[in-house]
Amino acid sequence: MKKISVTVNGTTHQSEIEPRLLLVHYLRDVLGLTGTHVGCETSLCGACTVMVDGQAVKSCTVLAAQADGSTVTTIEGLAAGGTLHPVQQAFWEHHGLQCGYCTPGMIMATAQILQRNPDPSEEEIRHGIEGNLCRCTGYQHIVQAVQCAAKKMKSQPAPANS
């Protein structure tokens, strides 16, 4: 067993875990943050995307032990004090989701894209979310949501935890 200390959505947790425990399972099963989803076993689908120390990562391919001492943000931590993050708001306005299963990972990936590139072209958006599969939407409303979020974030500063 290994002792880790991880700060998730602003709260620091001390846990004792098996070395092979995946970060996504740590978040879901140990901390009870079930917003991050598992959609595959080959790191393809992106449903498990979270931020670790400001970088979007696929938490199914990160060991919880690797997050020792790190700061993690999950979908549950994106809305600041009850106010939706502009990316969440944009996905809502543009019907960028249907079943919602890929959505947390898609939103986290989008937040990263816009952090790095505040004014992405359609092509840049589509390449930016290549690591996130969606079977419901056909991606078009997602692209529109990302474009809308970019506009929103340019006119208002994004919350500190994104």
């Binding site: 959609g39 809502w92 019907h95 079943c99 919602g100 390449h127 079977r135 939407t137 078009q140």
Partner: protein, 776 residues
């Protein structure tokens, strides 16, 4: 005056929980003391099981139980098939394999342990001795009597043979000036809902209550079937579809794993949970399509179609799941497409193979029909040197509706349609004449531009009960609570389609309340009256109609109460914008709702309360239709296919929420794109599933999807009062032929008339290479 919300693209009421990661899919529901289940599945496609050694697994600390086929196969009823085809041979489908395995992924044993890591460790220790048997993989070869037989008790691999269609096909083909023939493959596809299957079962022995949370599209139907499989009273089995992460037909089913978890929770006295992994999903969740067919289409020199025959071998897989044998019959129903075809015949030979079962996957038999008739029309056009649009127009019926439904030679009466209208709109959007001129110029300059046109019609809003195994009606209960909040209980089971919003829109307009005043409850068999579920593009057309009709019942009752409160005759009362008015006096629906429950001032002959239940039986299917146009350019060096433009004009009758409609069409088109260019379930010659992960099975990614330009026509359906046709599958039916046609068209000047799906760049490159070599 409040604005009407039906017809508006308002934001969904579902979304707040989904965008914050606060929803509850099956794996998000945590019960104390839950055991986790991991299955051991066959690694051979066809083999005898000599021995299953579970001793090491059983001894693993943290393992509570291990079941094999010998333990439970006779204790649980067979996995059900709801479809009955005359003279069909149905194998006995037990929940776990006993003496033989029939496909890679066939479950053999299941381990229950304290957590999923221990369960997986223990499952890896289970040793199975197999004796390999020859495999049957090709649905056409399976029918050959020389082929090895999969189900010994049946003695043949032929599940059934069926002939369907009307008219004298032989005479029709004889009367043709030309007959065009083509072999067509519909490769197997994997539905790949982003959430795989999952089951959580809990039994309370004191109350004798069994609760099953399962990622399903058909909560009530599944409850009935699982209660029968277990011999457990249906009215003490509560089945809940929680948040469901996509289905596309793959969860319109009853799976062995659901019954096994229910059984285990009762035996082991603890909740049990099974969550499917992706590889498991690709092996053990139903596949779609799987047909190899031969088309024969007869035409006159002027392009008039005289007759159409489709001889097809349908790949059942090794066992039937819920609707497996029925899917090809849906193909037969839609072989006429948008055209007047005097004689149609389909001859199906349905065969068992050593693969996972096929069943309903978005479109369920109708993409196959639309694909073959649209390819056939293009082949006729090529044969006659006609434009693909002109040959279609030549065979369209005049616009039709309730007074003059369009009867086709598959036996159906289409409800309403205006195929010319959708076609003209699409041609205008793409500026078709100019496009063909540009194509000519581009071709002369050595560029490979192709234009594909698909005019489709499809059958949905499943459907009149005589045609559906478990009934095709849908239910709704609408309650107006004392505080005038509205509760809608629907038998539909949405998993992304947005009916929590669209049904609230309907109720808001009918009752003069707001969308936020309404809540839609679905998926819980203890709360919602019996319903049929969500599939076959039926939730709004059938389920929404039930809601609408229940609302009308409520309005009648509420009007009677209001009249009494106003002291007037009910006939003098008008209801508008939430107010009942007569002779200058009015009461609000809020006042009526409170009065209905306090019951201080009700007519003597009227019951208190404001609740209405409707079971709506549709008299016909509905027939959405449209035109899709795809423009591609092929890279002459690599064979890569780029979609330059994609236009879709779809008619789904009346639209409740255009945002939701667009979302369904986008999603369907992209699944068609997957079928046309990327996706294929591949078993190798030993029956190994080599496309068994998302690394190998190419679900379209965002960067591979073109911008889709959508428009619509609106031809109301006479089948239901709102005029809704349904739209969930249209994109996955209408788009595939347009995309394939475009690629074929880009290579038409090289003599290419047809290409098999998925059309890979390598295949196109080989054609280009051969052509260059020929020319050199």
């Amino acid at each position: 005056m409040a604005e009407k919300v039906v017809g508006k693209g308002i934001k969904r009421t579902e979304d707040p929980r989904l965008i914050q990661g606060l929803a509850h899919y099956v794996d998000d529901i945590k019960l104390p003391d839950t055991l986790h289940a991991v299955f051991v599945r066959s690694i051979y496609a066809h083999a005898r099981i000599k021995k299953v050694d579970v001793a090491a697994a059983q001894k693993t600390p943290g393992v509570v139980a291990v079941y094999t086929g010998n333990d439970i196969s006779q204790k649980i009823g067979p996995v059900p098939c709801g479809a009955a085809i005359p003279d069909m041979k149905q194998p006995d489908h037990r929940v776990l394999a006993t003496d033989k395995v029939y496909w890679v992924g066939h479950p053999i044993a299941v381990v229950f342990a304290e957590n999923k890591y221990i369960a997986r460790d223990a499952a890896d220790k289970i040793e199975v001795d197999y004796e390999e048997l020859p495999v049957v993989l090709d649905e056409e070869k399976a029918a050959d009597p020389k082929s090895p037989v999969i189900h010994e008790k049946i003695g043949s691999n032929i599940a059934y043979k069926l002939t369907a269609g009307e008219g004298d096909i032989e005479a029709a083909l004889k009367a043709a000036d030309k007959i065009v023939r083509q072999k067509i493959y519909h490769k197997r596809l994997a539905p790949i809902a982003m959430e795989g299957r999952g089951v959580l079962a809990r039994y309370y022995p004191g109350e004798q209550e069994l609760t099953l949370w399962t990622s399903t599209q058909i909560p009530h139907l599944a409850r009935t079937q699982i209660s029968l499989m277990l011999g457990f009273p249906e009215n003490k089995l509560r089945l809940i579809a929680p948040e469901v992460g996509g289905g596309f037909g793959s969860k319109l089913n009853v799976y062995a794993e659901e019954a096994i978890m229910a059984y285990a929770s009762m035996q082991l006295g603890r909740p049990v949970k099974w969550i499917e992994g992706r590889r498991e999903n690709m092996q053990g969740t139903i596949h779609g399509r799987g047909q190899v067919g031969y088309i024969e289409i007869g035409c006159k020199k002027d392009g008039t179609i005289t007759g159409f025959r489709y001889n097809v071998f349908a790949d059942m897989g090794s066992y039937f799941q819920l609707l497996t044998p029925a899917i090809p019959t849906l193909t037969g129903l839609m072989l006429s497409g948008c055209y007047k075809i005097p004689a149609i015949q389909m001859n199906v030979t349905a065969c068992f193979t050593n693969k996972m079962s096929t069943d309903a996957y978005r479109g369920a038999g109708r993409p196959e029909a639309t694909y073959v008739i649209e390819r056939a029309m293009d082949l006729v056009a090529a044969e006659l040197g006609m434009d693909v649009v002109e040959v279609r127009r030549k065979n369209f019926p005049e616009p039709f509706g309730a007074e003059n439904p369009f009867k086709v030679a598959t036996g159906l009466f289409y409800d309403s349609g205006n195929y010319q209208g959708a076609l003209d709109k699409a041609l205008k959007m793409v500026d078709y004449t100019k496009l063909r001129e540009e194509q000519k110029k581009a071709r002369a300059a050595g560029r490979l531009i192709g234009v594909g046109v698909s005019t489709y019609v499809e059958i949905c809003a499943m459907g009149p009960s005589p045609a559906l195994p478990a009934g095709g009606w849908e239910s709704a209960t609408v309650r107006i609570e004392p505080t005038c909040k509205v509760t809608i209980l629907t038998g539909a089971s949405p998993h992304g389609q947005g009916q929590e919003t669209s049904f609230s829109q309907i109720a808001a307009d009918e009752l003069g309340v707001t969308v936020n005043d309404c809540t839609v409850i679905h998926g819980d068999t203890a709360v919602v009256q019996y319903g049929i579920g969500t599939f076959g593009s039926r939730a709004t057309a059938v389920g929404g109609t039930a809601v609408y009709l229940a609302l009308q019942k409520l309005k009648v009752k509420a009007t009677g109460m209001a009249a009494h409160m106003l002291g007037v005759d009910a006939k003098t009362v008008t209801f508008d914008d939430g107010k009942f008015t007569s002779g200058g006096k009015s009461v609000t629906i809020q006042e009526v709702a409170l009065n209905a429950h306090l019951a201080k001032n009700l007519p003597a002959d009227m019951e208190p309360g404001l609740s209405a239940t409707t079971f709506f039986e549709p008299k016909n299917f509905t027939f959405p239709f449209g035109t899709h146009i795809c423009v591609v350019e092929i890279d002459p060096e690599t064979g890569e296919i780029q979609i330059q433009r994609y236009i879709a004009v779809d008619d789904c009758g009346k639209v409740i929420n255009p945002l939701l409609v667009h979302g369904q069409i986008h999603g369907g088109i992209v699944q068609s794109l997957g079928q046309a260019l990327f996706e294929e379930v591949v078993y190798d010659e030993q029956g190994q599933l080599i496309s068994g992960s998302l690394m190998d099975y190419a679900v379209p990614k965002a960067a591979q999807v073109p911008w889709m330009e959508l428009d619509r026509t609106e031809t109301p359906s006479p089948v239901n009062p709102m005029g809704v046709k349904g739209v969930g599958e249209a994109g996955s039916i209408g788009a595939t032929p347009a995309i394939v046609a475009a690629v074929v068209d880009a290579l038409a000047h090289l003599g290419v008339r047809h290409l098999d799906m998925p059309i890979k760049p390598e295949h196109v490159w080989n054609i280009l290479k051969k052509n260059k070599a020929g020319a050199a």
